[in-house]
């Protein structure tokens, strides 16, 4: 059964909601948004209903914090309000829908089904990392070019991922992909909280977009974090030895060094791009160039062509 969390202090609201939802969903009732964090450790609900009749900034902060993490991106938040007057500004709080308390009985069940459908449709995400996939990445680049924004784009991919996967199995390979996605996301978002973007093309390929002036520092940090964290996914003997034995694409047994990350970066500060395909291709070429160097590294497109 899908889980729905209801946060309210109002016994009346609780009773009404239970009546409408209890037989089709597993309903978890909390009186305080704080307790939701412990709940989220164990499972992800499809919808969170928050009674915002008399709640404070603290509650809104908490909602925003949950919504800003892609892991929880699929959760829809529905605000319960007394009347239209106390709806918070939508730019300030990431809620997906609202409902008046007097309409719970007639509308809530239907609104919830709509929310679940909408979230499935809108979230074109990679199931492993929960980062946006190709369609969203292309749309993001396209919009930036359309708005004549200056930005830098990085393509990152792992070296020696395949032998790791062959040696330890897909489960552990997936863990590495998830960890890489997380560390890129967190470092990029920490360096540049707004206007940055992280996507997962698929397999071991990632994309991030930032201001030209921040991307070099962020890339350095990503490489550092990668080199500290990823070796811990190897068995201790392999990590100490510094390489693993696995089979190459021709089926021959060979020794492979530990995984590293190669990042290629381009930007439109000095180079003009008109089409998203063009800038993607250039970033991808830069990545191929970065891959020709041993170990983890990033390479920035340093051409200065003005058309």
């Amino acid at each position: 059964m899908q889980k729905i969390v209801l946060i309210t202090e109002d016994a009346h609201v609780k009773e009404k909601t239970e009546k409408v939802l209890a037989h089709s969903f597993e309903l978890i009732c909390l009186t305080d948004i704080k307790s939701i964090f412990s709940f989220l450790y164990d499972s992800i609900p499809v919808v969170v209903i928050v009674d915002i009749q008399n709640c404070d900034d603290y509650t809104f902060d908490a909602i925003n914090q949950i919504k800003s993490d892609p892991i929880f991106g699929s959760i829809s938040f529905i605000a319960l309000i007394f009347d239209n007057d106390n709806l918070p500004e939508s730019e300030r709080v990431f809620i997906d829908d609202y409902l008046k308390i007097k309409d719970i009985e007639s509308d809530l069940a239907f609104r919830i089904r709509l929310s679940i459908h909408r979230s499935k449709r809108l979230n074109e995400i990679n199931p492993l990392t929960r980062l946006p996939g190709n369609i969203s990445i292309d749309r993001e680049i396209h919009n930036r070019l359309l708005n004549r924004e200056e930005f830098a784009i990085a393509y990152a991919d792992l070296d020696n991922f395949k032998p790791f996967n062959d040696r330890y199995g897909f489960g552990r390979g997936d863990e590495v992909i998830k960890a890489t996605g997380r560390l890129i996301l967190n470092i990029v978002k920490n360096k540049q909280p707004s206007g940055s973007f992280v996507g997962h093309i698929g397999g071991d390929d990632f994309v991030y977009m930032m201001n030209y002036d921040s991307i070099e520092d962020a890339s350095k940090e990503i490489i550092n974090a990668f080199e500290i964290i990823i070796p811990t996914f190897y068995d201790i003997e392999d990590r100490e030895r510094g390489f693993i034995e696995s089979t190459d694409r021709q089926g021959n047994k060979r020794l492979f060094p530990l995984m590293t990350i190669s990042i290629g970066i381009t930007h439109n500060r000095y180079i003009q791009f008109t089409h998203y395909g063009e800038i993607k291709e250039t970033a991808s070429k830069m990545k191929t160039y970065a891959k020709t160097f041993k170990g983890s590294c990033f390479k920035i497109d340093e051409r200065q062509i003005r058309n």
């Binding site: 948004i33 704080k34 307790s35 964090f37 412990s38 989220l40 450790y41 164990d42 499972s43 992800i44 603290y58 902060d61 908490a62 914090q65 949950i66 800003s68 993490d69 892991i71 997936d174 863990e175 998830k178 960890a179 997380r182 560390l183 996301l185 967190n186 470092i187 978002k189 920490n190 974090a225 500290i228 964290i229 811990t232 996914f233 100490e240």
Partner: protein, 279 residues
């Protein structure tokens, strides 16, 4: 007494969702988080001095939601993988302690001193990952927090028994609960999918000779615990200094000079830590 039936104790420990911490540490951390110049590493470094927030961070990153159960023991790594927003969210759910505040303060200082001592010892023994030992030292008594939280009245009784009879707190715990804090901590760490080494060290720090997979690491925390008690940092529930386990002592094979150096460095670090985290 049904309430202290061993299965009841275990299930109430496994039910714990939020652990209480010390107000000062929380306040300082919240202030750091508000500062845009704070890096993920700064946050990780700060958190790795607090047993409760460390426990929370490790629990979150090892939970099935993130999908690397039992793999991450380093707080710095956990913070990079979780991100600042999640860390902020975790802090919202940290409750601040008022009841038994003095005991919690004493335990905090004891745990921090054990973390520092364990790290120094791990370095002396040439262990590859001294941070692993540091975290184990920090968390070895987490079972006490669990017992205090779920059975505050009984725990106070255990403490006054330990005081009156002048026996170690673990013996008083055993009399009352039929288990001691090491077992309680092990249960909690298991339930929260902590890495294997942490579970074993927490569970065996009073009987390091039967640790199967991590005898050296467990012996380090065992000895650190006793050195810190002897030196008088913090308060771990009683005033006794238990004997050092012979197997552990032989295994570590530290010279008098090694111990002297460790104690000297511990003293310097604790001075700094108090300035940074408490005052």
């Amino acid at each position: 007494m049904n309430e202290l039936d061993i299965r009841t104790i275990r299930s109430s420990i496994e039910k714990i969702n939020t652990l209480p911490t010390i107000p000062n540490v929380l306040k300082k951390l919240l202030k750091m988080l508000e500062n845009p110049a704070t890096s993920l590493n700064d946050i990780g470094h700060f958190i790795s001095h607090d047993p409760i927030i460390t426990t929370k961070v490790l629990r979150m990153i090892n939970s099935p939601i993130y999908g690397f159960p039992g793999r991450i023991y380093s707080v710095n790594q956990a913070v990079i993988l979780l991100g600042l927003n999640v860390v902020k969210g975790l802090l919202l759910s940290v409750s601040v302690y008022d009841l038994m505040k003095k005991v919690m303060m004493g335990l905090w200082e004891h745990s921090l001193a054990c973390a520092i001592t364990s790290r120094l010892m791990a370095k002396k023994k040439g262990l590859k990952e001294p941070e692993e030992s540091s975290i184990a030292g920090l968390l070895h008594d987490i079972g006490k927090v669990a017992l205090i939280l779920q059975f505050q009245g009984y725990y106070e009784t255990a403490m006054s028994t330990a005081d009156k009879k002048n026996i170690p707190i673990m013996d008083a715990e055993k009399e009352l609960f039929n288990i001691n804090h090491a077992t309680a901590g092990e249960w909690m760490a298991e339930k929260w999918s902590f890495p294997r080494n942490l579970i074993e060290i927490i569970g065996y720090h009073h009987k390091p000779h039967i640790s199967r997979n991590f005898p050296v690491e467990t012996s380090i925390v065992h000895l650190a615990d006793i050195l810190v008690r002897g030196r008088g940092f913090g308060f771990a529930g009683d005033r006794t200094v238990p004997p050092v386990n012979e197997t552990a002592w032989a295994l570590l094979n530290l010279s008098n000079n090694d111990i002297k150096e460790i104690l000297k460095e511990l003293e310097e670090s604790m001075g700094m830590a108090n300035e940074l985290f408490i005052e």
